[in-house]
Symmetry: C2
Subunit: 209 residues, 2 copies
């Protein structure tokens, strides 16, 4: 293979965008520390030094990737507006759609989230723990149908989310409160989740579309 041509290449300038997209994908897949400049450069088909020339440092590149489109924020904010009736599902639906469904919004958001997670074996540990310990232990004391298992899983995920918010990310309003206050607040929500009322039970139920 002949030596790759040096110097500026003819035609339109798409390289900057390619680097950014490669970085976004890598950060979202491997996390921040595990992602290397050289790998991003290889994905984009350029030299590592060029990446450093576009963005002064790895941190700045990461910052450029983190830009969340305002559309996502708007869609999530809108869901809070409206009648109190059905606000729970409305917010959950909007939240999940923005984070999972639409690639244009989920890409940077997941990059941010997964960027904080080391793609080490620890994620596997976490999964095993939640599945085998938390959920299996809970299912032993409850009914063992599909719907109940799902509800336990969602409850476990919610609880872990609270721990993350309090102990790891340390979101002020949530982290500042006492354990008892949080337990009381979250407990009421979990109560509805674990002992569903009539109108919100059933597995394959379709949401009001």
């Amino acid at each position: 293979m002949p030596a790759p041509k040096r110097g500026r290449r003819p035609g339109q300038n798409e390289t900057r965008q390619a680097v950014l997209e490669a970085a976004r994908a890598r950060f979202a897949t491997d996390g921040f520390t595990a992602t290397t400049i050289r790998r991003i450069a290889a994905d984009a088909g350029v030299d590592a030094a060029l990446v450093m020339q576009f963005y002064k440092s790895k941190d700045e590149l990461f910052g450029a990737v983190m830009s969340v489109p305002p559309e996502a924020l708007d869609r999530m904010t809108e869901a809070w507006k409206g009648p109190a009736d059905g606000i729970g599902e409305r917010v959950a639906q909007a939240f999940l759609e923005v984070w999972e469904r639409d690639p244009r919004t989920s890409a940077p958001l997941l990059a941010m989230l997964r960027g904080t997670i080391a793609r080490d074996q620890a994620a596997g540990h976490m999964r095993d723990f939640i599945e085998a310990r938390l959920m299996r232990g809970a299912a032993a004391h409850l009914r063992d149908d599909h719907d109940t298992r799902l509800r336990i899983g969602v409850a476990a995920a919610m609880l872990v989310g609270i721990i993350v918010a309090r102990c790891v990310v340390q979101v002020p309003t949530v982290a500042d409160e006492s354990l008892e206050t949080i337990a009381a607040t979250a407990g009421a929500a979990l109560q509805e989740l674990l002992t569903p009322t009539e109108q919100s039970s059933g597995t394959g139920r379709q949401p009001a579309s």
Copy 2:
């Protein structure tokens, strides 16, 4: 086979424990990749090579740290048992106590959780995003008292927890379900959280002790 105790007896096996505790603290503080063998060794006051002699590799050391005391599992499992009335708060309380209150159980659990989180700037990004974007956007459409703000924070934490369980850790039962099913299930719980019924409102409320 009779155990021929040859060689030096661990008369003072304090070093092994010191290494393990240093590793636990470091993993919990800095995460897995950011934690170095040399730093652990320095914390324990020994050479890095000794750490590698006790535990064959960094992965094995991490695995040794991850050992969750069965007491923690039992306490969390017990909470699911009992009457359906108050199961939500009972589970939440037990969960939070094990993860936050008791250092003997919270240390390895937080090490596992934080071990997966890179202590980079990304955690700060995450905090800013949750606080400034999610919570502030929601508060604009709701009342602005302390209790409401807390409930929004808990709701946001729960939602992020679900995303983590689905997209990052990929807990089977939760990740396999459709977006709509998850939204409907979680939505019902959030509904109770955001539009509280009479008996579960109020901030400084004491749980039934």
